[in-house]
Symmetry: C2
Subunit: 237 residues, 2 copies
DNA sequence: ATAATAGTGTCTTTCAGACATTATCTA
DNA sequence: TAGATAATGTCTGAAAGACACTATTAT
């Protein structure tokens, strides 16, 4: 038998295969807090519980796993988040009552403001403060997944400015520092924080200032590639 | 309908699901080189090409994805590698001619010596120098996966001593440094390399020495948790 | 003694921590 | 002018880079 013959006689459905889903831990920064997007399950199993946005791969709509996660996130937020990165794949016999299952999980970040109106229009989606995730009963192993995503995000906050994707296009340095502080749960040295970002030239001065109370702060914008920059030395935990 | 009723009437096979496989990039250090374990495919598709060790999840044998990868690696090497970590999940419509597929990939490390005899007994498995991977025509997207695993391993070599898992239980510091140098493709400062390992107390002096030519080198053993230690500062790339 | 490899001493450089000081706004 | 917040100056400390030097073996 040659490969052509093999492929034309091959039937994927003849084998037991795990369920495959894609889930996203979408973080944002709002009202001084780190928040996670959760969706109330409207179908069995685990109906009524809060869960991560996600769902099954569509063999017709999706060419890749990224397509799946982006499609799912756009359904809930109305936009494509500027930062989407694969987190980890959780798989096992017992994590879903329907049978052996695999979920490919992503971490995503977005500015609260750009999806606020759309999320309010989606009845089942809500931003939940990260601090309160422990108080909810989440579906499947989604609480574990959120904790895992958070741990990874803490590391990123120590050696990159990836958390900037949780802010609007223009933001101030004190704002960005506060996002980092909220993520890692500890205050940072203002000087150290600014110095490393300046030296690596990761932000562009927009020329604008934002004034609330006190001295107005400079508004910056990320450079195109500054999300992928990693400092050689971590901030202290 | 309640959840019980839902579950008893649920049929996984009623839905189109991607193929799910698990693959491993198993590295070792031998003859001064970094090598990768490859397996010659004996079945369609891509029959005859070199591929990563791996295969389908077994719903009966495996309780988790780690079970699958460990089972597959033990089949080829005869032992369970001391370091197995999830790398990335590659998925898409076109990566496997059988249809939409997902492969959950792992990076693993092992000492050459502990599996040498078993691999020689497995007709289809071979250690390939990492440098020569580009010259082979690999199955599926396995070359891309190996490059990805290597990039991740380079990072680990800069901020951890994870590469030590590619060595036997007892090894010398110059040996370990050379593994790091071969991985990152660049010489390192002897003093810097030793200093950080000593300060973090990651290795235990076995009291033994190894003598080849020149001054005998101290033989060390890893501490139980030293694989998970990360230095706060990277070595220079 | 020489060659070879292991291991140390020590000065320089880099960059984060600490924290005082100055700058710029509003009320 | 006082209060608030933004931004800087500058000293200290920790850890890596560079590279010369010493130590221990075999021949």
């Amino acid at each position: 038998m040659n490969e052509q013959e093999f492929l034309s006689s091959y039937d994927k459905r003849a084998f037991d295969a795990p369920l495959v889903t894609v889930d996203a831990v979408l973080f944002t920064y709002h009202e001084g807090q780190l928040k996670v997007l959760l969706v109330k399950r409207s179908a069995h199993p685990e109906m009524g519980k809060w869960a991560l946005p996600g769902g099954f791969v569509s063999e017709t709509e999706d060419r890749s796993l990224e397509d799946t996660v982006v499609r799912k996130l756009r359904e809930k937020t109305g936009v494509i988040p500027p930062y989407v990165e694969q987190l980890y794949t959780f798989g096992g016999r017992d994590r879903d009552k329907r049978g052996w299952s695999v979920t490919v999980c992503y971490t995503a970040l977005i500015a609260h403001q750009v999806c606020e109106s759309h999320i309010e229009s989606v009845a089942d989606a809500r931003w939940i403060p990260f601090d309160r995730v422990g108080k909810l009963e989440l579906a499947f192993d989604h609480e574990e997944i959120i904790r895992f995503a958070h741990e990874r995000l803490v590391q990123k906050a120590l050696y990159s400015i990836v958390p900037a994707y949780a802010l609007p296009e223009k933001f101030t340095l004190p704002e960005l520092q506060h996002v980092h502080e909220v993520i890692i749960g500890k205050p940072l040295q203002k000087k150290s924080f600014r110095r490393r970002i300046e030296q690596a030239e990761l932000l562009v001065d927009t020329g604008e200032k934002r004034s609330e109370t006190g001295r107005p702060a400079t508004l910056y914008r990320m450079r195109d590639d500054s999300g992928s920059h990693t400092f050689v030395r971590n901030l202290e935990l």
